[in-house]
Subunit: 452 residues, 2 copies
C-alpha cells in the first residue's frame, strides 16, 4: 500500500470524518430500551452504501433489532468484521460532564456514549476503508461486515441469525468488535473469550415472610440458599459440581508462551484491589493460567429478607442469588444448567429453582492464525511496538457463533480503546489520537491481511 | 370487689374514657424518629397524676426518651406494670384506610397506630384503676408503673435505667405490656420471653466491585459470607457454634404440662405457611419444645452485589447478613457475640466482621407464681374460659431486666390484643369490645392479685 497517500487522505479529510463519527454518536441506540435502534441501523446501512457496499438490513427473530450486513471488496481472501451499533444505557445522566448523546471534545478526548464501545471502532474501520478506496483503489480482499444491535443485552438473537445465514459467513479470519491499549499504552491483541452461563437461583420456602421467632418450625429461604450455594464451591475455591472440571484443558504450548510473555502487573493490580495476594496465593504463570483457562463460579448478587438500616426480625420466605459461570470450550450454558440442576438435586436442594439462565459458549481461537499475524505486523508498523498477545479474554462475548460454529474462523480483537475509556459508565471516551492512529493501523492491517 | 358498681362506672363513663384513649392515639410518639416522644411522655405523666399517683418523668442515659414512673396504692403486696408509650413508625401511610394518628372506629373496631401496641394496653389499665378508685376505694396493693419510650427500637436504655433505679423496683409480680387472644378467641397468658442477639455480619474482600471475569484471582465477599454462614448452621438445622448448645435446658414438668395442654393448631399454621410439614418433620410436643425452649440462628437478611433486574457480571467487594439468635436463659447477647467471633476465627473467617450486635437476655418465669394464678382466675371470671398458658414466648423483650435482674419477679403477659391486630403494620386496630372487656378483666385481676 501507499502509506503516504493513505495518511495524507486522513489528514486532509480529518474534520469531515470526525463529524461523520460524531453523527453516529448523536444518534442514541440503546438496546435495553429500544431507543433509536431502528434509526441507527438505517444510518449504518446508509454509511456502508457510500462505500459502494452491498448492504442489507436483515431482520432477526421476533422483530428484535436487525443485523446490518455489508459486503464489499473482491479477492480470494475474506475478512469477517464484527461490530455492534447498540450502546449501553447512558444513566446516570447527572454524572456526565457533557450530555451523553452530544459528542464533546475536551483536551483532545472525545466524550459520548458509544465513543469507544462500539461506534468508535465502527467509525475507525469505515473511515479506513474509505481512505483505502480513495488512495489505494479496490480492497484486495473481500469484507463481510456484520453489525448487530443487541450486543449490550447479551446478543440474544445473534446465534439464530447466524444459523439462518450460515452460508453467507465463510471467512478466513475475523476482526472482533473491541480491542485497544493497556494502562501503560501497550497495544493488546486477544484471540478468544471465555463463555458464560449467568444463572438466577431462587428459593421460596414459605408463603410469606414470617416473624423470626418461628425459626424452629419454618423453613428459611435464606438458609436454604446459603447451604445450596456452599455446596457449589468450597472455601478452598474448588467447584464441586460433578462433571464441571472435566471440560478444563491444558493450554497449548503457544498459548502458554503468550502467558509467559505477558507483562507482569501483579503489584499494581493488588494495590488497586487492596489485597495482599491473589486468591490462594496464585502468582505468575499459575495466576495467568487460572485467569485465562479455568471455568469459574461467581456469586454476583445475593438478595433476601431485610436489607434496610437497623434490625428487623424477619424469617425470609424468598431468597435469590445471581451466579455467573465463566466457561471454557465445550462447556456450554446448557450443559452448566444441566449439571447444576443435577448437583442441586443430588444435594437435596430440589427447592432451589434455576429461575433463568443465559450465556455464550467459550471460544479459544488459533493464536497463530494469519489474521493474528496481520494484526501483529500492523502494530509493529504503526505503533512501533510488538503487541501484547493475550490467548483469550477472561470476559465473554458471542464469538463462538462467528468462529467455531461457522467452520473455525480465527478471530483477533484489535481496537482503539484506552484503558480509561469508561465503557458502560458515565463519561465514556476515546482519545482522538487513538482514533486517528487507529485508522492508520486499520489500513496497515488490511494491507497485511491481504499478504499473510 | 363490687363488680356491679365497677362495671356500671365503665358503662356510664364509656364515651369519656374512649375519648381519653383516643387522645393517646392522636399524639404521635415514634421512637425511631423521635416524633412526639417528649409530648407523649408528658401526656402519660399528666394522666397518671389524675389518678393521684406519685409521678416522675425520669431521664435515661444520653437524653434518650424518658421513663415515666408512677407509684400508687398501698399495701403489703406490690404489682409492677410495664408499658411503653412509643409506637412503631406508621409508614407506609398509603396503606392505611384512615390516617394512623386520627383514631377511627369502623364496625366496632378502633384503628390507629398504637391502638393495640401499646397505648391500648396502657389506656385499659389506667381506666381500670380509675374505675377501681371511683367504685372500690383505694387500691388494695401498691402499683409501680414503668412506662418507657423506646420499646419499639429495642429498649436500648431500659436496662441501664433499671440498674440506676434498682431500689425502686421491688415487686411481687409483674404485668407485662402485651397479651390477648388467639385466632379462635382463646385468651392467652405468657410467662416468659426468649432472648435475642441480633448480629450484623459484614465482609469486605476487595477495594471496589470488580468485573466478574476476575474471579480466579480476586476474593469475592459474597462467597466468603456464604461459606461463613454455612459453618454456623448446617442443613440439618444443627447450630455448630461451640458452646452454644450448652445453654439449652430441659423444660420443667410444669412448663411441659402447659405445652401438652396447648391447643393444636398445626394444620392451620401449615396451611397458612403453605408447607407440608414443619422443619425436620417436627410435630406435637416435640415441635412446641423446639419452638419455646431452644435457641435459634436465623438469617433475617442477605445483601450483596447486583440485585436489580437481569444480569450484571460483578464480583462483589462487600456482603452483609443480618442474623438473629433467639436465646434461652443464661445465653446472653454478649456470650453469643463472643462464641460467634471465636467460631468464625476458628473456621478461618477472620475477615467476617461482627459489625454490630444488640439484644436482650431470655427470661423464663415461674409459671406457677401468684401473679399467674391471679391472671388465670380473672380470665375464668370475666371471659368464662381457662386461658391458654404459654410457658414463654418464642419472641423477645426486655423482661430479664424487670424480672431476674431485680430479684426474680414473676411476670405474666395479659392484654387485649386480637389475633388480627396488625401491630407494626398499617391499619393497626383493637376491637372496642376487647377494650371494654379488658377493663373489666383488669379490675378482676387487681382483685385476685390482692387475694392470692
Amino acid at each position: 500500500m501507499d502509506k503516504q497517500s493513505f495518511d495524507s487522505y486522513l489528514t486532509t479529510h480529518r474534520e469531515r470524518l470526525l463529524e461523520d463519527y460524531k453523527d453516529f454518536l448523536r444518534q442514541p441506540s440503546v438496546a435495553a430500551t429500544g431507543q433509536g435502534i431502528v434509526e441507527m441501523a438505517a444510518m449504518v446501512a446508509r454509511r456502508f452504501a457510500t462505500l459502494g457496499a452491498d448492504v442489507k438490513v436483515v431482520p432477526t427473530e421476533g422483530n428484535a433489532p436487525p443485523v446490518v450486513w455489508a459486503e464489499l471488496g473482491e479477492g480470494d481472501r475474506t475478512l469477517l468484521i464484527y461490530n455492534h451499533y447498540d450502546v449501553q444505557p447512558a444513566e446516570p445522566f447527572e454524572l456526565w460532564e457533557s450530555p451523553p448523546f452530544e459528542p464533546t471534545v475536551r483536551d483532545g478526548i472525545l466524550y459520548a456514549r458509544g465513543a469507544s464501545d462500539d461506534k468508535g471502532e465502527l467509525a475507525t474501520r469505515i473511515h479506513a476503508v474509505e481512505a483505502w478506496q480513495a488512495t489505494q483503489g479496490k480492497l484486495p480482499f473481500k469484507i463481510k461486515w456484520l453489525v448487530e444491535g443487541e450486543e449490550e443485552i447479551g446478543s440474544p438473537h445473534l446465534h439464530s441469525w447466524v444459523e439462518q445465514h450460515k452460508d453467507w459467513l465463510h471467512a478466513d479470519g475475523c476482526l472482533w468488535e473491541f480491542g485497544g491499549f493497556d494502562e501503560k499504552g501497550r497495544f493488546e491483541l486477544t484471540m478468544g473469550v471465555k463463555g458464560i452461563c449467568y444463572v438466577q437461583l431462587r428459593v421460596k420456602s414459605v408463603d410469606h415472610d414470617l416473624h423470626s421467632s418461628l425459626a424452629p418450625l419454618a423453613p428459611n429461604a435464606a438458609w436454604r440458599l446459603t447451604w445450596a450455594l456452599s455446596t457449589i464451591k468450597d472455601s478452598d475455591e474448588n467447584i464441586l459440581i460433578d462433571g464441571y472440571a472435566d471440560y478444563v484443558r491444558q493450554p497449548s504450548e503457544a498459548q502458554l508462551e503468550m502467558l509467559r510473555q505477558m507483562p507482569n502487573e501483579e503489584e499494581e493490580i493488588k494495590k488497586s484491589w487492596k489485597v495482599d495476594q491473589f486468591l490462594k496465593g496464585r502468582t505468575g504463570l499459575e495466576a495467568l493460567k487460572q485467569l485465562y483457562f479455568t471455568p469459574t463460579a461467581t456469586i454476583c448478587g445475593l438478595t433476601s429478607g431485610w436489607q434496610g438500616m437497623g434490625t428487623k426480625t424477619v424469617l425470609p420466605a424468598e431468597a435469590t442469588a445471581k451466579v455467573d459461570f465463566r466457561l471454557v470450550p465445550d462447556l456450554t450454558p446448557d450443559i452448566v444448567a444441566d449439571l447444576l440442576r443435577k448437583h442441586l438435586d443430588k444435594h437435596g436442594f430440589t427447592d432451589v429453582e434455576i429461575a433463568s439462565y443465559n450465556g455464550y459458549r467459550a471460544e479459544f481461537c488459533d493464536v497463530g492464525a494469519p489474521v493474528v499475524k496481520a494484526a501483529t505486523r500492523a502494530a509493529q508498523l504503526v505503533y512501533n511496538q510488538t503487541p501484547v498477545l493475550i490467548p483469550n479474554s477472561p470476559g465473554s462475548g458471542p464469538m463462538w457463533s462467528l468462529s467455531s460454529f461457522i467452520g473455525g474462523v480465527p478471530v483477533v480483537c484489535a481496537g482503539i480503546a484506552s484503558a480509561d475509556n469508561r465503557v458502560h459508565s458515565p463519561n465514556e471516551n476515546v482519545p482522538l489520537n487513538n482514533y486517528y492512529e487507529g485508522m492508520r493501523y486499520m489500513g496497515a492491517f488490511f494491507d497485511e491481511f491481504s499478504k499473510v
